[in-house]
Symmetry: C2
Subunit: 232 residues, 2 copies
Amino acid sequence: MERNQGCLDCPARGKHLFCGMEDASLTKFDPLGTIVQFGGGGVIFREGDNCGSVHVLCSGRVKLSATSREGRTLILKIARAGEVLGLSAALANQPYEVTAETVEPCRLKTIRRQALLDFLDRNPDASMRAARAVAQEYKAAFAEVRRLALPATASGRVAGLLLEWSREQAPANSQSGRCVMTLTHEEIASMTATTRETVTRVLGQLRRDQLIQIRGAALTVLQPQALERLAV
Amino acid sequence: MERNQGCLDCPARGKHLFCGMEDASLTKFDPLGTIVQFGGGGVIFREGDNCGSVHVLCSGRVKLSATSREGRTLILKIARAGEVLGLSAALANQPYEVTAETVEPCRLKTIRRQALLDFLDRNPDASMRAARAVAQEYKAAFAEVRRLALPATASGRVAGLLLEWSREQAPANSQSGRCVMTLTHEEIASMTATTRETVTRVLGQLRRDQLIQIRGAALTVLQPQALERLAV
DNA sequence: CAAGGCATGTGATTTCAATCACATGGTGCT
DNA sequence: AGCACCATGTGATTGAAATCACATGCCTTG
């Protein structure tokens, strides 16, 4: 069991927008809330729940999804360390918009909504960071709308998703379009508003056309331009 | 030509999130930027443009849209007075995500990005309001994703849009599902990821099935529950 | 190793909506 | 009034992808 380190000496501190606030603010932030550990597959909160708390994701990945009554599921994104889950719901004073579910063991700092709002009120640089963090979320949500609504075909939506992955996982060498597919075809379908079978077929086709290469979970985008043409 | 009134005595001041800041902050906010008048059909900024300024919409309506290279257009929403256009792009320090185009004569207060950021840094209550405003935008963008991606059919997406209109235009008496359709079928198609013809057919079908009533631009939702079943 | 469960691959069929093509209807202009 | 222009309505055809159905392959676990 690791030591319950504080925010000030968090190794990821500088890497994340909200967590990177000034020492003075972070010192006041640190004692707020409680650290919670989750295993894989745990539900942090559900869509429609009253937003009682926000959750700073310290480590691990979390799946954000929404479900229709008919059982269709839309996966919005996989959140990573440094994201503040439920922040926008807390600020807008609305129920959670999505369901948050851990996909692997995670560490979270959970803070009561009102405690966070009070903290933000008193710490201007933190509230600016909160605003910036929500703006980032907005940008991502908007990119999602675009990816879903603009391409005319299912292949286009899948291609767009693959491009996004290869871009966000691209290290310094922006050439190699290598990335890791951690999701099943079923889950990819939920991110592209299509079905599992169609994802299988589209990936197969892209592979046959030499636009991508798949070896196990390793995916390499061979021809980004061609994918972009598909994704429009 | 109307008097160039300030923010402090703006009649809409209390009605909008960002504009409703404290007197002290608003007094400092007022002299920033310049008031600009637009006719209908003017372009305030374009998708991909560098975000040099943000624009507070004082009056009028503005269409926010994104276009693919192929020419497909997605209308995200019609912004109303009180919204701050480009705020999230300014905070995230990114190019504008959308194109903003007036649909009727509009009055805007245009402020240089850096001037706004400086102002927010110095006025905590304003930055909290900015954060809340972006959170609202986020919520709307998310609802958009949901409306576009969850319904399995085009009818579902259109039904979802009609429901949203009837809800947001509903006055105190939440019963009457009356609202005004200011958009053409073409534009509705751009908001629901479908085509003009399909919108015409879907609206016709809904009317024949007595789920809605259309008289000119006046639309009445007769059976909200039935629409929700469609929209899922 | 056997066996069950889950992920993936693939064919056949059906359904939905895009597309193309044209008719109708209203509005504004001159 | 007459014409042009745009929005709307509607049929016919086509194409893409959902759906259904089943085979294969892989990993876990008793």
